[in-house]
């Protein structure tokens, strides 16, 4: 059973099965459906310094075996998060990983200071897919320079905390960017965030989403995520957490075989909230040789 544990930086998770940031909100929303205390960890919805209302217009569209979302980082902001949401999740016995928005530099630094002042948080995940104003709205995670700045700032301000960098797949060489994160001090990387996609209303010919593009998740992107994890884990020394279309125990096994130290489950909980616990049982069973 001991081998079930995974270590990221100097933090140990009791098993490799984690809820991805976003779909599960702040965790408590799923408490009626998932034994949160049984999971390796719960990555909470990405928070920004100040509350965000999120995007206008339609936010969800189902696609073949996938889901487009344009939620736009709606979140309660750091104060309410640390004041209410995080304590509630801890109360539920869950292990939180706090996801942080990589917005404008000033707000980002203040957000890091806020985290620094909270000693219930020992692991954070930097959401490097946020569109960044300093770089024309492109995701921070597409530029090695910005990546380096965001990760090393967090490294400096949060010494001793475990630091995950969550990568966007909308780049040419994701493994190269993982190396940048490693060099900047990340203790692990999460791959992948959503693929950029869009849809159009065939009647009006207009984009479905107000912001035109949206993020594609779900089983449709699994092969792309698996490839990213395989490539990254052959290039970096730090642990990789796989995310993207994990929909079954078999998928989880594939990610672990591809080199992932752990896996994050997102979209699948919408229709199959029992999946995380089934994966834990399967992995536990396998490790005890009774598979």
């Amino acid at each position: 059973m001991a081998q079930l544990e995974i270590r990221i930086g100097n933090v140990t998770l009791k098993n490799p099965v984690i809820l991805a940031s976003g779909p599960a909100g702040y965790g408590a929303e799923y408490a009626d459906f998932i034994g949160l205390e049984k999971l390796g960890a719960v990555v909470t919805k990405t928070i920004s310094l100040n509350p965000k209302a999120g995007n206008s217009g339609r936010r969800l569209l189902e696609t073949p075996s996938g889901l487009l979302n344009s939620v736009g980082l709606e979140n309660v902001g750091a104060d309410l998060f640390f004041g209410e949401k995080l304590p509630r999740l801890l109360e539920l016995g869950a292990k939180p990983i706090v996801s942080l928005a990589c917005e404008g530099r000033e707000d980002y630094l203040k957000l890091l200071e806020t985290v620094s002042g909270n000693d219930t948080v020992d692991m954070v995940e930097l959401n490097l897919s946020c569109p960044n104003v300093d770089c024309g709205g492109m995701a921070v995670g597409t530029s090695p320079e910005l990546l380096n700045w965001y990760v090393s700032s967090a490294r400096q301000i949060l010494p001793g905390r475990a630091l995950l960098a969550k990568l966007t797949p909308n780049v040419g060489d994701i493994a190269g960017l993982a190396e940048v994160c490693q060099d900047a001090g990340a203790d692990g990387v999460t791959a992948i965030n959503t693929l950029l996609g869009m849809d159009i209303d065939p009647d009006t010919g207009k984009p479905i989403f107000d912001r035109v593009v949206a993020g594609l998740s779900g089983p449709a992107i699994m092969p792309v995520a698996l490839r990213a994890v395989y490539e990254i884990s052959s290039r970096v020394r730090i642990p990789v957490l796989g995310s993207g279309g994990i929909t079954s125990v078999t998928d989880a096994r594939k990610f672990l075989a591809a080199g992932a130290a752990g896996i994050q489950i997102g979209t699948a909980i919408f229709y199959d909230p029992g999946l995380p616990e089934r994966i834990i049982s399967a992995v536990t069973g396998a490790q005890q040789g009774k598979e």
Binding site: A24, E29, D32, G54, R59, L60, E74, G218
Partner: protein, 270 residues
């Protein structure tokens, strides 16, 4: 304390076709299913394929000690899967979902307005309040395109008055349900106290344009596309009227029932 909200494997007890594309399903109430409130819904998993992917939400049309009633209109792959299931087969559902409910002070008269399957939560509401001796006189206004699409056969007993409208005039009032509402209201035939509506956003908007301001309260149960159904993903939001920054509310967990006046109808694109 956590509640058990599923997933449940609910056995289909019976299935009845009540219009060319609409079915009434009676499910055996799953063991441990929490008591449901008017306006709440369940969300059903669609088979084992990853396409369709998401669960589909359906209002609870009645909840008795032994069973759950759903009204399902076949409009696409998910609903088509559901209505193709046969008695003794199961449906995988979570629920009850929704955290605001239709509400009325004891003894008040009520007007209900529905379009399409919007009938379901209103029937549940009327039945529950009748059982609780909560409601006074009730008017139910229902519209469909033709007489064949009228679903009021299943709920005539549940309201004091049932008024039907068909676009082609094949039964009842000729025109849409909002036109009928306005005519009845102008005639003074409706008690303008509590209004409960459920249907396409277009219907509710038109209802408000026609004049609902005399009502003390107009509560409406909304439908948006949902992923989680539990307030986590923030995908199912509607905008509220606000003077400052935009404010969004999740229909699944901060609804489904809203005071109609609070919704920023202008900025809501379904």
């Amino acid at each position: 304390m956590n509640m058990n909200r599923g997933p449940f494997q609910a056995v289909i007890e019976s299935k009845e076709q009540i219009s060319p594309s609409t079915y009434m399903l009676t499910l055996q109430k799953p063991e441990g299913f929490v008591e449901a409130m008017p306006g709440q819904f369940v969300s059903i998993k669609i088979g084992d394929s990853t396409s369709p992917l998401l669960r589909r939400p359906f209002s609870i049309m009645d909840s008795t000690p032994g069973s759950l009633l759903l009204l399902v209109k076949d409009v696409g792959p998910g609903t088509s899967y559901i209505v193709s299931r046969k008695p003794s087969q199961t449906l995988d559902l979570i629920g009850p979902l929704g955290e605001t409910y239709f509400d009325i002070p004891s003894g008040e008269d009520a007007v209900f307005v529905a379009g399409g399957t919007g009938l379901a939560p209103l029937v549940f509401t009327a039945r529950k309040w009748a059982k609780d001796h909560r409601i006074g006189i009730s008017h139910f206004l229902y519209g469909a395109s033709t007489e064949r699409e009228l679903l009021t056969g299943i709920c005539r007993e549940d309201f004091t008055y049932v008024h039907v409208a068909t676009l082609d005039g094949s039964e009842g009032f000729e025109g849409d349900v909002v036109k009928m509402f306005n005519v009845l209201r102008e005639k003074g035939a409706l008690p303008e106290r509590y209004l409960f509506s459920c249907g396409p956003a277009g219907m509710v908007k038109k209802l408000m344009e026609g004049g609902t301001e005399n009502f003390k309260s107009h509560q409406t149960s909304l439908e948006t596309v949902m992923a989680c159904g539990v307030g986590a993903c923030r995908g199912c939001v509607v905008p509220l009227k606000s003077s400052g920054a935009p404010v969004y509310r999740a229909v699944c967990s901060e609804g489904t029932v809203f005071e109609a006046d609070d919704i920023d109808w202008e900025n809501w694109r379904e």
